[in-house]
Symmetry: C2
Subunit: 437 residues, 2 copies
C-alpha cells in the first residue's frame, strides 16, 4: 500500500506514478488470438469443439455446444429458494433502473420546413461473454443481459466456458431469469469469434459484451468493426472518500471488497484525517487475517492499495476526478454536496449506509463500469449499449429552395460535382415545374 | 454494376455475395502502426516532426506544429463571402439538430427509499482527425466538431496533415466556425498517437474521432481503451429505394454522388420497376460521361454498384434492412410509411426533394455515419459520443435493511466474503444502534 499526503513536496510525482502504475501489464496475445479467430471463421463448430477439448478438457460434439432447456431448468432447481429470491430482488431492481433509462425519439419540423429527428432501435442480436470457473459471477450475467432485454433485443446468446464440464448452476439460473435465449459451453477467443462470425451452430450477433481474460479482450478488440463491442474491462478499482465519522472497519471492508477481486484490483482511501487513515489501515490489516480470499486481497492491497491524505474534502474530490475511478464511495456527512463536484467516475455511492457492494448486486444501476481511468470518456453498461440511432430528414421543394443553394456551394467547394448536381438538378426542376411534387 | 432480381432463383446467393463483397480489403498495417505509436509515446514531438518531414515533405520545428491564430484568421479571409455564408448555414443547422439531442439526467427515489439515477457529463478533451489533401472536407470538420462543442467539451484539438505544407483554407475556416480550440499540422498514425498519449506540444485527449486511411484506422484501433474512439469508418454507401415516378436522372445523380467519393464506395438502387431500373442505369451511363470525377465514379459503379429489382416496395425495404446502409433514400409517394419499417440504416432521407447530398452538408443530422453494414449496431455521430454517464445510488439505513440481505446472499454465493461483510457489518451496526445515522 502506498500512502501519500498532499502536503508532502513529492506528492505530485508520487500521484502521477499512481495514475499509470497499472498500465501496460497486458500480455502480447495478438497473434494467437488472430489465429484462433481465423480458424473459427474457416472451420466453425469443428474449431470450437477442438479448442474446448484442448483448453477446458471437455470433449463435445457440435450438438452438445448449447445447453438444453432441460439442463437449464435442472440447474434452477439446484439453487436454494433463498438464493433464487435474492436473484429476483437483484433482477427486478436492475430491470427497473434500466427501464428508467429508455430514451425518447426526436422529431420536429424546423423554420425552413424540414422535418428531422432520430429514432432509437434495439439491436437484433447480442452476444454475452461470461468468464468460466470462479470468475463466473451470476450477478454479472444479470447486469449484462437485463439491459439488452430491456432495450428490446430479441436474441441474446451467451457463451461461458465450463472447465472440466463444471458450471455454476446459479449462472444458468441468472441467465434464465435475465432472458438469455441461448447458452453455449464455449469460452476464450473462440467464443468471441463464434459470436462475431457465426458457426454452423451459433448464429452471428451484432454486438458482444461481457468481461474476459486477456485472450477474450484481444479477441473483442480484433472483431471490433465487424460487430460492436463494449469497453475492454480492466482490473476493478474503488476510491473511498471518507471523513473521520465513519467506522474505520466499514471503510476497511469496502476497500477489501475491491481488493478481493483480483491482485491487480486497486482500492484507494482518500481522507482529510491522517489519524483516521491510520485507523483504516490498521483495520485492513486486522480484517485481512480472517478473510477467505486473503492471499488475493493482501497482494492487491500491498501492491496497488493507496491511502491519500488531503487537506480537505474539496481536495479529495479533485484527486478522485483525476483518478477517474470505476467506483467512488462518498462516506461523509453531506455526500450530495461532494457528488455535485464529481466529473469522472463510473458509479458513485452516497452515504455511510450505501457501500459499493450494494451496487454490485442489488442497487439497480449497472455494475459493468469503466475501469482503468476510462471513466474520463466511457460509461457503465446501459440500454444505450443495446440500441442504435437512425437519423432522418424529410423535406419538400420549399425546404430545398431555402437550404439547397448552400449545399450546392459547399459541394462545389469540395470538388464533389455529383453531390452538387444531385441538389441543383432538383432546384432546376422546380424552376421548370409547379412546386407541388 | 450487378443487377439482381428477387424473382430469379439465384437471387439469395447473389445477394449474399453482395453483402460481403467489400469486406476484408484492409491492409496488414498492425506492425508499422504499433512502431509509430511506440515512437510517439517515447519521443513525442521529435517523432511527429520526423514523420511529418518524411510523409508530408514538410520540415517543422515543434513550435510550428500548431497553426497560429493569425494563420487561421488569414485562412478565413481567403474564403469567399458566399462560401463563408454557406458554411454558416450548415453550421447553424448542425448545431440546432445536435442541441435537440441533448439528453436529460435521471434521478428518482424508489419504493425501498433508495435514490438513484444517472448524470450526463461532457468529456474534458476531444481529438479530431481530419484527412489531408483532397479528402480534407470542411463539411466533415463541422460534423465532427460541432457535436463535441454542443455536448460541452471544452478542449477540442484537431490534427490534419498538410502535404507539402498545403492546407485548404476552408478547412481552417470550418474548424474556426465549429469552435476547434487547437489545430496541428500532423497526420497519420503519429497524429493519433500524439492525441492519445500526448507530446510536449499536444496534450492528450480523452476521445479521438474522425475518418482516416488504413494507418489512421489501425492506430485508433490500437489506442482504443487508452482513449475512446468512434467507429472505424469504411467506404461510404447509399441505398436508394425509388418507384417509377422519380426522374431517373435525379436517381442516377444520387447514386453517382456516392460513387464519386471512392472506388470502394457502393451505390445501390432498389426498385420494383424493371423498366425504371433500365432508365436509371442508362442515365448513370450518360452522366458518367460528363462528371469531373468520372474515373473514380465509374470504377465504383462498375465494381460495387448494384441494381435490385423487387416484387414490391415492401420487399425493397426488407432488402435495405439486410444491407443496413449508411444512407437510405426513400424516393416514393409515401416515404413515411416505408420509413416506419426501417430497422437498420445510419440516416434516412424521405421524399423526392430530399436527396442524401442535402444531408451531407446542410440537413442538420450528422453525416458521420456507420458504414460497412455496421448500422446493425452502430449510430451516427452525436452529442452522445462526447458525453459519458455517471450513475449514482444513495440510501440510508432503512433502504439497506430492505435490500441488503439479498446482496449479502448473492455475495456469499459468489464467494466474495468482503463484499458480504461490507453490507452485513453495516446491518449489524444498525441492530446495535438507533437507526438514524
Amino acid at each position: 500500500m502506498k500512502r501519500l499526503d498532499t502536503r508532502n513536496p513529492g506528492f505530485e510525482a508520487d500521484f502521477a506514478s499512481l495514475l499509470t502504475a497499472r498500465e501496460e501489464q497486458g500480455q502480447e496475445v495478438h497473434k494467437p488470438v488472430a489465429e484462433i479467430l481465423a480458424a473459427v471463421r474457416q472451420k466453425g463448430d469443428a474449431t470450437l469443439c477442438a479448442l474446448t477439448e484442448k483448453f477446458d478438457r471437455l470433449p463435445l460434439t457440435p450438438a452438445q455446444l448449447a445447453f438444453t432447456a432441460d439442463e437449464i431448468a435442472a440447474a434452477c432447481t439446484q439453487v436454494s429458494p433463498e438464493l433464487m429470491a435474492a436473484l429476483d430482488v437483484a433482477a427486478t431492481r436492475i430491470e427497473s433502473f434500466h427501464k428508467a433509462q429508455m430514451p425518447s425519439d426526436i422529431r420536429y419540423t424546423d423554420d425552413v420546413g424540414m422535418t428531422l429527428g432520430l429514432r432509437w432501435i434495439a439491436l437484433d442480436a447480442v452476444g454475452l461473454y461470461v468468464p468460466g470457473g470462479k470468475a463466473a459471477y451470476p450477478s454479472s450475467v444479470l447486469m449484462n443481459a437485463i439491459p439488452a432485454r430491456v432495450a428490446g433485443v430479441q436474441r441474446l446468446a451467451m457463451c461461458v466456458p465450463t472447465p472440466d464440464g463444471i458450471i455454476n448452476p446459479l449462472v444458468l439460473a441468472a441467465a434464465h431469469r435475465a432472458g438469455v435465449t441461448e447458452i453455449y459451453r464455449v469460452g476464450g477467443a473462440q467464443a468471441v469469434g463464434a459470436m462475431a462470425f457465426g458457426t454452423q451452430t451459433i448464429r452471428p450477433v451484432d454486438r458482444i459484451v461481457g468481461p474476459g481474460n486477456a485472450f477474450v479482450a484481444e479477441a473483442k478488440r480484433q472483431v471490433f468493426g465487424h460487430v460492436g463491442i463494449d469497453s475492454i474491462a480492466g482490473p476493478s478499482d474503488v476510491v473511498v472518500i471518507s471523513d473521520s465519522a465513519t467506522d474505520p472497519r466499514l471503510i476497511a471492508l469496502d476497500l477489501l471488497a475491491q481488493a478481493e477481486h483480483d491482485e491487480l484490483a486497486q482500492a484507494t482511501l482518500i481522507t482529510p484525517d491522517a489519524a483516521f487513515a491510520d485507523k483504516v489501515t490498521e483495520a485492513v490489516t486486522t480484517e485481512l487475517k480472517t478473510l477467505t480470499r486473503t492471499t488475493i486481497a493482501s497482494a492487491s492491497w500491498e501492491r496497488n492499495g493507496a491511502v491519500l491524505v488531503t487537506k480537505d474534502l474539496e481536495e479529495a474530490i479533485t484527486l478522485a476526478n483525476r483518478l477517474a475511478p470505476e467506483h467512488l464511495e462518498l462516506m461523509v456527512d453531506d455526500p450530495e454536496a461532494l457528488f455535485a463536484k464529481v466529473r469522472h467516475a463510473g458509479a458513485v455511492f452516497l452515504g455511510r449506509f450505501c457501500p459499493e457492494a450494494v451496487g454490485d448486486y442489488v442497487g439497480g444501476p449497472n455494475h459493468v463500469l469503466p475501469t482503468s481511468r476510462t471513466a474520463r470518456f466511457a460509461s457503465g453498461l446501459s440500454v444505450f449499449d443495446f440500441m442504435k440511432r437512425t437519423t432522418f430528414l424529410a423535406g419538400g421543394p420549399d425546404a430545398l429552395r431555402r437550404i439547397g443553394p448552400a449545399g450546392v456551394a459547399l459541394a462545389q467547394a469540395e470538388g464533389l460535382e455529383a453531390h452538387a448536381l444531385s441538389i441543383s438538378a432538383r432546384l432546376d426542376a422546380l424552376v421548370q415545374t409547379t412546386p407541388n411534387a
